[in-house]
Assembly symmetry: C2
Homo-oligomer: 726 residues x 2
Amino acid sequence: MAPSQSALLWLILGASGVALVVAVLISRGVLARDRGTAAMQRISNAIQEGAEAYLARQYKTIGLLAVVVAALIYVGYAFAHRAESADSVGGLSAGTYALYTTVAFLLGAICSGIAGFMGMWVSIRTNIRTAAAATTSLNAALQTALRGGAVSGLFTVAMSIIGVAGLFGILQLLAPAGVDPAAWAQRIPFLIVGFGFGASFVALFAQLGGGIYTKAADVGADLVGKVEAGIPEDDPRNPAVIADLVGDNVGDCAGRGADLFESTAAENIGAMVLGVLLYRFFGLGGVLFPLVVGAVGLLASIVGVMIVRTSGDEDPMSALNRGFYATSALVAVGFFGLSKWLLQTPDAPDAWWHYFLCGMIGLATAFAFVYITQYYTEYRYRPVKSIAEASQTGAATNIIAGIAVGMESTVLPVITVAVAIISSYYLGRTSGLLDPTTGQPVGGLFGTAVATMGMLGTAGYILAMDVFGPITDNAGGIVEMSEQPDSIREKTDRLDAVGNTTKALTKGYAIGSAALAAFLLFSAYLDEVRTLTGNELSVNLAKPQIFVAGLLGAMLVFWFSSLAMSAVRKAAQSVIEEVRRQFREKPGIMQGTDQPDYGRCVDIVTIGALKAMVFPGALVVVFPIAVGLVFKQFGLGAEAVAAFLMIGTIAGILMAGFLNNGGGAWDNAKKYIETGMYGGKRSDAHKAAVVGDTVGDPFKDTAGPSLHVFVKLLSTITLVLAPLFI
Amino acid sequence: MAPSQSALLWLILGASGVALVVAVLISRGVLARDRGTAAMQRISNAIQEGAEAYLARQYKTIGLLAVVVAALIYVGYAFAHRAESADSVGGLSAGTYALYTTVAFLLGAICSGIAGFMGMWVSIRTNIRTAAAATTSLNAALQTALRGGAVSGLFTVAMSIIGVAGLFGILQLLAPAGVDPAAWAQRIPFLIVGFGFGASFVALFAQLGGGIYTKAADVGADLVGKVEAGIPEDDPRNPAVIADLVGDNVGDCAGRGADLFESTAAENIGAMVLGVLLYRFFGLGGVLFPLVVGAVGLLASIVGVMIVRTSGDEDPMSALNRGFYATSALVAVGFFGLSKWLLQTPDAPDAWWHYFLCGMIGLATAFAFVYITQYYTEYRYRPVKSIAEASQTGAATNIIAGIAVGMESTVLPVITVAVAIISSYYLGRTSGLLDPTTGQPVGGLFGTAVATMGMLGTAGYILAMDVFGPITDNAGGIVEMSEQPDSIREKTDRLDAVGNTTKALTKGYAIGSAALAAFLLFSAYLDEVRTLTGNELSVNLAKPQIFVAGLLGAMLVFWFSSLAMSAVRKAAQSVIEEVRRQFREKPGIMQGTDQPDYGRCVDIVTIGALKAMVFPGALVVVFPIAVGLVFKQFGLGAEAVAAFLMIGTIAGILMAGFLNNGGGAWDNAKKYIETGMYGGKRSDAHKAAVVGDTVGDPFKDTAGPSLHVFVKLLSTITLVLAPLFI
């Protein structure tokens, strides 16, 4: 039985609302926990202060940029549509169309900002409670950290779904008089693409700024503290140590939160656009399917988070994996039910289970990415071992080995994505849905869309695991700086090691979902161009202009990565100079008789990161628009932009995989040597491995994750600005 | 007046023959020079022996692989065409078609091998004569080295032109009875694409094997000599020093010779295929135009080489630049005359000067690449300075800075190529050549082809400058090892520094020409598919299969680069172990009382390089075929291969630019510090810079240059195997 549209919307909003309420309850539970000793609190407060000050300034900068872009969108839209009849844009005047898109953009930007801020708000309060819990038991610390992460995970995904579903509902109510409600409902997804763009826009700057911040502080603190002054990591005598701990929050929590917020938003909107194509078969059930799946995934994630507990003897990673398996199993069951409920049509009795299988392909892809990432970044396996071995002959061979591992690590993910796209496409194509006029199969692209939904179904849980990383990292820092006994440090160390793994996994997952979602978003773009022009758009690389546009897209990936890494190096340089200055002017710091000025370092990184993020971020926004407008002069604007987008995405996915996995592998090669291999800590091999680890920092925490957002921003920007290029 | 076909062929063969004769005369002149002291000769003989032994074994391996591929081509062709009518392949039976292609492949392979061998043969004999000449004057040494390089440059380019022109002439004579001679002449370029594939095939393995050899020896010798034992570069006590000097010859001379041989061959054949499309306007003059331009470029290069002389006070680079300017000016004049002579048609009176301008765009592109490469790799400019500055805070920041510079260095070349492709395309399109049936402009692609010819017109001179590099490098090594006075060392050092620059320039030039030629070869591929199927092929990225094929193409670039770098690391590792063993077992080596066993090191690198080159080389050959055959199952073989090729090319060009320039910049950042900056030699900054330099070695001399060939091999392999994918 076909469900009514308002029932579906209430279901989506209800389930997401439940997730929000649960997030609030979990956060109250976490906040009620013990805040540890006064020494711990002093450190935690300093982190909190620095992180909140940074985020406030960052959002002010991004807010200003967003207002400028919003104004340009409004003007551009009103201009692009000025000559068209009202009818061609779904019964709307150009001004109204422009207004809706602009408002959706701003709403996406605001929601993304809130999601990032909330996640960080909770995690900077959870770190100290995790540190305090570690004084009682490993299980208590594990649960505290994961639940703190879960607040971020649930909040982010729920906000994204509520935003899209809410916009959908509101636009339903604003249906212009005299327009057929069904036709209007099919038009809405195109009007809310602005929401995805707004989300991507904020996510790009948040991830880039946060990524620069975290690694500038980390690299700066390490080089001047560990290497020059010879003091251990997180030593309170290092003036940059608070900036380093702040960085974990603003980069990993706020940045990745914004990243997955926009992933979910962009993917849902893209899938809805494709769902419209099958309206005649599934009605609104097909259009809203992605949101329903997302909402059910949220409920599954809650269960997953709540069942995690560990005995203390086992590897905490196993406990987290159990939660992931439970979430995945529930998503699979939910997928089965929802496919049967919403994707059954008398026209094609096999369609629902074909799409169910597509969803399972997506779920399997998530698993594959998790395992491949582990293979390339954990020291149990060949790749990381080869880097550790190469460290024996010095830093140069360590670097060569790490770069080779990073590049090799792109092979299996690409094959996985290739198989996922093609198999889900064929399952969709053979689902039995035929165009009644041409008799052609039409369900292929929706198959890839459903696979993306399957992959993102576990997003809530994955994000909880991800934020677990910086929380335990911070907890470890607090324990170290407040000079707790070794037995407690040992517990936070174990959790910190698990946190490194979960952070690496999330990046693999994020890039995998970006790859799947990218194809989905291309298709949505092509569909939008078809809707606007009435013609099928082919993206023909055989034309010189289109080839050149693709070349430029791939080039932008290299340029952007270069800028992101240079930014880290420059900001780190200023941290190093500041720390050297403090050591020189206050010799008491090293003897422990004088207090370092943590605040100065925080300020310096804050200013450095914010200044450095503007140009690369703006480049990613301006470049595709410039390409579109220049090639429009040759009458090939929309096609050139498509090639730019697609080839830029391909290069971006590969580069991100290279950077993320290379960086993770270097990190763990160092850890492997620290277990006593090749001479252990303080050996020459270890010194070489530290160089690799430092090089990997901006790879895996700045350029790599920023490229995920870059890839999706390209899609959403072209989706929103398509009318300008035609 | 339209020239007769045989007149044109004789002109091409005559001019190329002159170049060959001049090459022989120059080599006799060089060989007649003084061979220096007995100590010098001992070292030179050791280099010669090692290089010739390596090349003999390398060509044996490649020869075996080539025979296997030839057999597969024969079978594949006979099989692919078995069902077709003889008429569809130009009046040939399937067996004859297969035979011609296979013979062309083998001929290309053999010529490529001879060109590589000859170039190296001369340069390993020139190095000692350059060393001896340095005892008299800088000018004598400069001229000796450049003329030795010129033998390689002239020989390589002449062989390539003679091979293509000769095959053309022979196939003219073999015209099947009853086939219209004009139709047959238009068919020939398709029959000789096998020559380009054979050349690329050998070039790939030669460049890859040589590149692995040279950098494994270099990295191994440096790490164990300079870093561990603390002895200077080229110190005779280092057992790996001869292997290092051998490497310069087998990597830079033989490798790059094979690379430019196949560039010229592939580009000429691709341009001829496009010339066929304009047969109705230009007749055979258009088809043979690329070969005529190439032959005239050879004569211009001879003049350029002969006028180079230096006073001793000036920078030797200025003298080399004068030669380059003279060559370019003569090529420009020749281009004007040839365009006017061969590309005048009453149908379009403006066509000839449009195409002349296209040629000038190509020439300008060569200049732009030369300057951009200098900007990114010379220490007078910001990029290299930023790396040197970053070395002050250690190896990690040096590496981050170098990677950022390498990635950034792709931006301007891509923009240059973009402008060159689009502007030459539009000049060609507006040349006035119209399809008589449709009235559409048809000269656009030939415009990009002519731009490529303009760029490659100076290939002979550029290759001479390139081989100048390893000759002076070797001469310096001989001077150092035979313990000559400092005043002589100072002269070879100056030439060596210039040689580093010329090597970097050639790589920039090679990748630029690869980018231009790639687009030309795509067009030839699309044209071949059109000829075979009768349908226009569009390469539509909007299809999931085509997108996936493109993704796989880009991935192969990362995989291949990873394999190339790992190979260097592993082979270097075995060198290090061998040197350590010799130092341990013969303590007399370090005291100078015992002779190191150079031959063992040469053997170890030889075996290591040959073993390591097979898998990556085979992968590049097998992967596109596998993609074609798999996607053929979806009915999209030819289109998927095109996307694979194009996006693989885009990724390859960017990656090669990143690797070449990053490596060059690291090298010169170290040299900049050695001039006394940041503490000079033996400072911490210098140690950090040495790490970067070592990392850059496999970047710029193994993976980067191999990617040039990789990119063109993808084109030629798809061009030859197109019938299999349809």
